[in-house]
């Protein structure tokens, strides 16, 4: 099976007064058709910027400086932005974390869905578009869609606003949905409702989903595969259960050990000492080296992704070499 979205050597940099911030620096990723890929990482890991690059939404002066982004065989990072634009919104849609600010406060939600339909896929008639917009509200589980069609975003709760944003994103039946922290601002019971809705819609519409999140628990329960990002790079990628149960990168291990989890309350939380490196002054060495209890001379030069198992790889010199050593490296 060939990938729906293929990212190779992606680099997105932001010039700042302090220097060049390499927010994304050499990301390779494949998103397979029909899967839900989790992209997990902490603030500044580059998980959002990677997919803003895919969507062509990187804000100047930041820009994609290198790499290839192919969607269904078509290059999006090429010199002609028009080809990419035709796909964005129609074949690739996005929902953002904060539905409160992402929606237009002065426009009814119905009109916002109509606007999305009109911009990307103008149907035969206005009545037809309205019917499809109402279908979208129904699809995402908003009660009384005819009444709510005329309401403004502030009249919806946080969970309902996230549903409205999903309706706008899905209005053109995209093949790929990029959901950036779709539930991070929501209470846990509402989060469960929205994530279940997302899973149901994915199954019903045969959609591919990239779920960007900082929450490994959300990944564990909703994603087929996971890519772990750190300081602008993918450091581990593989089937979700395998990555969580047998992490091969010390950062993934550290992330798991520092995550409070109701299924592992008997385990003491183990923080990762130190801080994420400045993205301005990155050396060639492994980016996790200075926080890693297993660092050795080999970590001083650039580290490539290495295969651990089928479909599972990690950016660590020890990956695939001796799995016990990574786990034994838990710092006391």
């Amino acid at each position: 099976m060939s990938a729906l979205l293929t990212i190779r050597g992606l680099a997105t940099h932001f010039p700042t007064q302090l220097g060049l911030v390499k927010a994304v620096d050499g990301v390779d990723l494949d998103v397979m058709p029909g899967e839900c890929l989790g992209v997990v990482g902490e603030s500044g890991s580059g998980k959002s910027v990677t997919f803003l690059s895919v969507l062509g939404l990187v804000r100047a002066p930041g820009r994609v400086v290198a790499g290839s982004i192919r969607f269904d065989g078509q290059e999006l990072a090429g010199p002609d932005p028009r080809a990419a634009r035709a796909l964005r919104g129609r074949a690739i849609a996005v929902t953002l974390q904060d539905a409160g600010t992402a929606l237009n406060p002065s426009m009814t939600v119905g009109n916002q869905i109509l606007e999305s339909l009109g911009a990307h896929d103008p149907g035969p008639s206005a009545a037809d578009r309205r019917r499809r917009a109402l279908d979208m509200l129904r699809l995402v589980g908003i009660p009384e869609p005819e009444t709510r069609f005329e309401d403004f975003p502030h009249q919806f709760s946080g969970g309902m606003r996230q549903r409205v944003m999903l309706a706008i994103a899905l209005a053109c039946r995209p093949r790929l949905l990029i959901a950036d922290e779709p539930t991070s601002a929501l209470d846990v019971t509402i989060q469960a409702q929205v994530l279940d809705l997302l899973a149901e819609l994915r199954a019903r519409l045969g959609m591919t989903v990239v779920l960007i999140t900082h929450d490994l628990g959300v990944v564990a329960e909703h994603c087929d595969r996971v890519a772990v990002m750190y300081a602008g790079q993918v450091v581990e990628c593989g089937p979700t259960r395998q990555v969580i149960d047998l992490p091969s990168h010390p950062y993934t291990r550290g992330l798991l050990d520092s995550t409070p989890d109701l299924s592992r309350l008997d385990r003491k939380l183990r923080p990762i000492e130190g801080q994420v490196p400045e993205l301005i002054a990155l050396g060639a060495h492994c980016r996790f080296r200075d926080r890693c209890g297993l660092a050795e001379p080999r970590c001083d030069s650039a580290v490539a992704m290495r295969a651990v198992d089928e479909g599972h790889s990690a950016r660590c010199v020890r990956a695939g070499e001796d799995q016990r050593s990574v786990r034994a490296g838990e710092t006391p």
């Binding site: 902490e42 709760s157 509402i190 989890d261 183990r270 801080q275």
Partner: protein, 332 residues
Amino acid sequence: MTSGASDGPLVEVQGLGKSFAARSGLLARLLRRGGTIRALDGVNLSIRRGETLGLIGESGCGKSTLARVLLRLQEPSAGTIRFDGEDITAADRNRLRQLRRRMQIVFQDPYAALNPRQTVEQIVGLPLRIAQRLGREAARPHVAAMIERVGLKRTHLNRFPHQFSGGQRQRIGIARALVARPDFVICDEAVSALDVSIQAQILGLLQELRRDLGLTYLFISHNLAVVGHVSDRIAVMYLGEVVELAPARAVLAAPRHPYTQSLLAAVPRLAARDAAIRPKLAGEPPSPIAPPPGCRFHPRCAKAVDSCRTTRPTLRDISLDHAVACHLADNP
């Protein structure tokens, strides 16, 4: 460290209420109704000396209002607050100033809670200057010792908040709360804005400080896994009242209130589990302006019977040290 009535609970609240008028102003216009928001409605709670009492609940349940009323930063509308045996519900300004040396709070947002124009020394020294009327010179050794105690350096004393990372700023907030050697500290979403690897560092620090300084914590968080990791006992709030209160293990392993059960089921976990057996909580919490009659949870409760719709359950002991506000708690 504590004085006065030494055996009773350190903090005890009975029938605590806090109402806000919603008759005028923006909120009322948005909600298109007047009335009273009952943020707290008959809260009963005691906090034992030396324990960490976790307080969980979703947005709007009243947990932050409870924190502010406990410290008398906001005036209660009903009920009593006792601190170390003393009724402080009506304590005057002078008495409050003395009491606040012993009761402190760490806020969620380390960016907003620190004055950007003050140095770390000024920020951390403020409680000493107010509560103990110490001059700058007299305060300095205490401030320096506390800064080192929370994992920062003396050289940081002359820096400003913007020169620190989020985790370091939270350490500054903790130093400020602890410098006057309080007995009771409220942590109000104190780690919620931090990435997990840093969050684990701060949680570890808070636990260490509690042990070493003999502190009592009220640990407020929307994150059940975090609360599960740090608490001795857990109180669950829903729509302005405490609905379950028991040792952490009991709440997490054998919750008796249907709301607690749904809340726990909604939390994503790292361990594999069958998604189909998770009970789903439909709907959203009702408005605290017009709470439902009877049990406030009954409109969302799958187990509700007639008495739940008419009679409001009170928080009562159903077994040793396990209190639940549910008519049906005796028959699980």
